[in-house]
Symmetry: C2
Subunit: 150 residues, 2 copies
Amino acid sequence: MTQTPTVNFANFLHELSKVTSAMKGFMRQKFKEHDVNITFEMLQVLRFLWGKDGVNQQEIADAILKDKASLTYLLDNLVRRKLVQRTEDSQDRRNKIITLTDEGQEMKDLIMPWITEMFEIAGRNIPSELIGSGLILFEAIYLNFEQQNK
Amino acid sequence: MTQTPTVNFANFLHELSKVTSAMKGFMRQKFKEHDVNITFEMLQVLRFLWGKDGVNQQEIADAILKDKASLTYLLDNLVRRKLVQRTEDSQDRRNKIITLTDEGQEMKDLIMPWITEMFEIAGRNIPSELIGSGLILFEAIYLNFEQQNK
DNA sequence: GTTTAATAGTTAAACAACAAACTAATTTTA
DNA sequence: TAAAATTAGTTTGTTGTTTAACTATTAAAC
């Protein structure tokens, strides 16, 4: 067990924010260049649906780490843009089933290459073992907080 | 030079979000428990000022990675809570100098231990070399995006 | 079987982020 | 020095997040 100096961790958080905003910024730039009127957060929803369509809001929320109130709001905006639609689930009327519209489905072909490009840039000249360490590190930190909240 | 699979990176982003929200959640919890009416973002401003008081808004914005419009808003909220004050800079009247009030200064003694605790929890049982790898990784990713935007 | 729990989704209010347009002050440059 | 460019800060509009209270529906417990 090693004691990690606080100052090191403060740096860590700072760099982490820089990476997050660089990635968001990259996508925002792409959207702007191609006149695609969506946000990074809406993309998170679409990206999930491109992989698995026809689920309820809670499942999307859990998958992309947002609460259900945020999802309601995000989906309102996606419905307004005619990219997804809500249907009531006749099996369980508490659920609303979210499906992509044709337009929402088609966006995949346009946008997925940008995501690939973003990850390609991010990982440029970085050994995959280093990415692996990052993953292990994140999981360890997250587990530490989980442990704390028990 | 190793090619990093996209799927790996998507995971990376996901875990990164989990860590970020665990940390924000931890602080939010502390604030709530002790009836401290500030947010994580306001804390970022205070934390900077505890280290260096009496600077203009842009310097704070650059240091904590926010744009100046967000800073205007955050400072409005901090002024309303009587934790900081704005003064016009007589040397350069474009500037507004931000200083802590006594109350804002005193909060340091209350809150800093929570930040230390947060970092202590985060780093529990994590070798400092792994944190070091994380830092190197972030800096590399960030530089990749910087390079891209030249 | 009726009461109680839990689950899915919505709403409202306060807070925050981002872009774009704006004012005011200072610096550069021609 | 006068015009142009830069810098600091504000404002507005749209979007996103969080908490808490709320409705409706389903499942569990008694």
